[in-house]
């Protein structure tokens, strides 16, 4: 009886153990693992460009990439890869597999366009570095002589230098680069992996990717412009230097339903920072679900004020040099007068909150585009005055008023003969083609964009929060450019869904992120 009771306790314990072990292993083994950029530990600390690739074809990134490639119409991409290599007379298992140790990279340094000089090397983490070295030696057809430097043997093929450093194969086009990598490997020189900017950018971006790019724009500018400080000075004076000349990094990856891209820079967004704040669009639920293009930004007025305040003298110089105007203010006044205002800033100053542009094509005909601009306004009376002036400047008919959904709308025909409409309601302005503006005000378009499955699926795949972004319904736009629904849409066009290009500042870092989603066939 005691053993029976004891047996029940043991049985329950075994069941708990099985569930715990099973759960932990299923969860942890299926988790996407980070790509360990061991090659950065051998690259020198100051490359102009470092491009690394994930070479683990069993990783979640490659499994997802193969899946997406299949959706795009390529059957069995893994086999195609192997066959392509075999067609070139290369045996995958003997000649390619030894190179696939997890990551491979190319770095460029000492880059100069003027004398066509590039210094750099390829570094490959190998599964079998010894075999990989043999493969390169055999395939290159060169005669190599053995050299020694810093205790490391390297092979000089006359224009190609090879070395095996631990699990890594190093291939350099010049001896100086080879010796540099050897110095880095022995700790005599610092490595890229230890550079603060590199580490922080790696941490800011996803650490699981297909490809990773690190670029020191400053070093690139030196190489391209031969050390000429003119461009650097101009960029710095314009206030864009912080973003443009500081190191940046980008990753390309595959996940779930699409390919993703993300880039970040060490520099601050500066004056454009207000436009890049993470936010949820107020206007996405106010346009139709079949909007093929939707762009939203915010705080244009504040951004313009900051840019003007910090760069007025540079902008004055720019316009003076252009020759048409004496300074920025004159250019702004002239632009304003063209649209019936004293100064174009009257219009810019309206946009203190979110501003969005949406375009849709009810008949899938480009000429039947419906466009609406929506903007939050704080001073409705001033906004009405500005809009009336703008519309009147191009109107060819007397404005007519109509009440739509309890809101007074104004319609006018412009000099192209198209009817435009605008209205102010709930602290926002809507202006656009008459049909579009009326539809937004009447809210009679059925499902809205924010609730549309395609839009939501695309937003879901975004690697960052949304800031200033543009959404494209790729499937619809492809049909437009071909003039209606083509019968022979190929597989790729048939499965492309939505795309987003996004600019956002998160955790003090300015980022660009993008995604394109691919549907199941």
């Amino acid at each position: 009886m005691a053993q029976r009771r004891y047996g029940i306790v043991i049985t329950i314990s075994l069941a708990v153990i099985a569930a715990a072990i099973g759960g932990v292993i299923l969860l942890s083994s299926g988790k996407a693992s980070d790509v360990d950029l061991t090659t950065a530990g051998l690259a020198p600390a100051d490359p102009a460009l470092y491009v690394a690739f994930n070479t683990d074809l069993s990783s979640s990134q490659w499994v997802a990439a193969f899946k997406l490639i299949e959706r795009l119409g390529q059957e069995n991409p893994q086999q195609l890869l192997k066959d392509t290599v075999a067609d070139g007379g290369v045996d995958w298992e003997k000649d390619v597999a030894p190179f696939l140790g997890g990551n491979a990279a190319i770095y460029l340094r000492g880059f100069s366009i003027s004398d066509l000089n590039v210094q750099g090397a390829a570094i490959v983490k190998c599964k079998d570095a010894k075999r990989a070295l043999t493969v390169v030696q055999q395939q290159s057809g060169l005669d190599f002589t053995e050299q020694k430097y810093g205790g490391v043997t390297y092979f000089d093929g006359g224009g190609m230098f090879l070395a095996r450093i631990g699990d890594h194969l190093v291939l350099a086009m010049d001896e100086e680069s080879m010796r540099e990598v050897i110095d880095v490997s022995s700790g005599k020189k610092p490595s890229l992996a230890g550079v603060g900017d590199f580490k922080s950018l790696r941490d800011e971006l996803t650490t699981n990717f297909l490809a990773f790019v690190y670029m020191d724009a400053s070093a690139f500018a030196d190489g391209i412009f031969g050390g000429d400080r003119a461009l650097k000075d101009a960029l710095e004076a314009s206030g864009a230097g912080d973003l443009a000349l500081k190191p940046g990094a980008a990753v390309l990856g595959a996940k779930g339903e699409g390919f993703e891209f993300q880039a970040a820079a060490v520099g601050k967004a500066g004056d454009v920072s207000p436009m890049l704040a993470p936010r949820t669009s107020r206007f996405a639920p106010m346009v139709p679900a079949d909007a093929s293009i939707f762009f939203t930004t915010t705080k244009l007025a504040q951004t313009w004020k900051a840019v003007k305040g910090n760069s007025k003298s540079q902008l004055d110089t720019f316009f003076r040099d252009e020759g048409r105007y004496r300074n920025l203010d004159e250019a702004l006044r002239a632009a304003g007068q063209e649209v019936g205002l004293k100064n174009i800033e009257e219009l810019i100053n309206l946009f203190t909150g979110e501003m969005a542009v949406a375009a849709w094509f009810p008949s899938l005909d480009e000429s039947d585009a419906q466009v609406a601009v929506l903007a939050e306004v704080t001073d409705a009376a001033d906004a009405r005055r500005v809009m009336e002036s703008v519309v009147a400047s191009s109107a060819t008919s007397k404005p007519r008023s109509e009440t739509v959904n309890g809101v007074q709308m104004t319609f006018v025909r412009n000099d192209s003969g198209d009817e435009l409409g605008y209205a102010f309601t709930d602290n926002y302005l809507v202006i656009g083609t008459a049909k579009a503006a009326r539809s937004v005000v009447a809210k009679d378009f059925g499902p809205n964009l924010a609730g549309a499955a395609k839009y939501r699926a695309t937003v879901k795949e975004m690697p960052t929060a949304l800031g200033t972004f543009a959404y494209f319904d790729v499937a619809n736009l492809l049909r437009l450019t071909t003039g209606g629904v083509p019968v022979d849409l190929d597989d790729a066009e048939r499965v492309l869904q939505g795309a987003i290009v996004n600019f956002v500042e998160e955790r003090g870092v300015a980022r660009i992120s993008a995604v394109i989603t691919i549907a199941e066939k």
Binding site: I10, K82, L100
Partner: protein
């Protein structure tokens, strides 16, 4: 050392061998995955990643079965580790032992069919050894293999 003492030692070794084997190499990947060496643990993960592919119900179901079957090895190994020293009378003991035997026979058959007669990788060899030890121990002390008799 008597036969029974040897059998006792073998019986105690079954669980740790199976658990260790689960985390040691089982196979090289096929085709473009030739560079990848899979352990039981990484196979479970890789099969999980493959399930993200647009697979048919049959293939998807097959992958789940394979994942659970491989997972069963480490669970059977831990049951053996816990039960072999003092609780071999519990039905979980022969159940987990025979699971290792059946799994090893099937894995060996698949291995021979795919690669011919070769030495299995270390992880799979450990699992085979654990199954063999269980069989030997249960022949010397049949009581352990037939808990139902207790």
């Amino acid at each position: 050392m008597t036969r029974r003492q040897i059998a006792a030692l073998l019986r105690i070794a079954v669980g740790p061998l199976a658990v260790a084997g689960f985390f040691l190499p089982w196979a090289h990947g096929p085709g473009v995955l030739a560079a990848n060496q899979f352990t039981g643990f990484t196979l479970v993960g890789f099969a999980g990643r493959l399930q993200q592919l647009d697979l048919s119900l049959t293939v998807g179901g097959g992958l789940w079965t394979a994942r659970l079957a491989i997972l069963g090895v480490v669970i059977a190994g831990s049951w053996q580790t816990l039960l072999a020293p003092m609780h071999s009378w519990h039905p979980g003991y022969p159940a987990s032992g025979w699971y290792l035997v059946v799994f090893s026979v099937l894995a060996a058959a698949i291995g021979v069919a795919k690669s011919g007669l070769t030495l299995p990788p270390l992880g799979l060899a450990s699992v085979f050894a654990s199954a063999a030890f269980f069989l030997i121990a249960s022949r010397v002390t049949p009581r352990a293999a037939g808990a139902a008799q207790d």
